[in-house]
Symmetry: C2
Subunit: 125 residues, 2 copies
């Protein structure tokens, strides 16, 4: 597995680890039930405290990307698309509300918002 720490980046170490592993799981680079490096091993490699790697793994577990087995190790969770979907839907709904709030303060119509969303989606392709 590949994790690179950039000490100058400003983003905290645990966050860099979390983000990199997460994207490797999402991209499929890390397969389901594949074992991750141990929090101590990874910490040693990166020359940081294992508490920091632990924190990254905790975040990943909390979000359902990995699961841990006491005294054995941490593994890539089977993709529970439904669970992930449920959680993300809530977050997305919150953000949509915030957008409508912003739109209301500057007379931006619903049509225009939808146009913006469509545009952003097309950009991604």
């Amino acid at each position: 597995m590949n994790v690179l720490i950039d000490n100058l980046s400003g983003t905290p170490i645990y966050d860099q680890i979390y983000t990199q592993i997460k994207s490797q799981i999402i991209s499929g680079e890390l397969k389901e039930n594949e074992m991750l490096p141990s929090i101590r091993g990874l910490a040693k490699d990166l020359k940081i405290s294992f508490i920091t790697t632990k924190r990254a793994y905790e975040e990943l577990e909390k979000e359902g990307f990995i699961y841990t087995v006491q005294a054995k190790g941490c593994y890539v969770a089977p993709k529970n698309v439904e669970l992930l979907r449920e959680e993300n839907l809530k977050k997305i709904e919150t953000k949509i509300e915030e957008i409508l709030q912003l739109a209301a303060t500057c007379n931006l119509s619903g049509e225009e918002i939808i146009e913006m969303v469509k545009f952003a989606i097309e950009e991604k392709l």
Copy 2:
């Protein structure tokens, strides 16, 4: 003008002042070019330091809701819808990006996102 501070609310004082005045401006309760209470006067009323009211006013000015004239006072800015629009568009774009990011991690299609937005807009009516 009406501003109420809730010491138990957890949100900082300056933020409460900022939010309340902002919404009064947006709602039209405070008219364009109307003079706001002086930062010192308001601070006295609320029994807080005027630095705190100053901060609230600074935020309002930064976002274009009010303007200040040295040694005279602070006034409600003429509604610059275009400016507000520009600023909010940026914020909205950022939020849309975040939404697409979330959607990508759970295989939520562009169509579905647009449906969610449309639904939220209809709810508002």
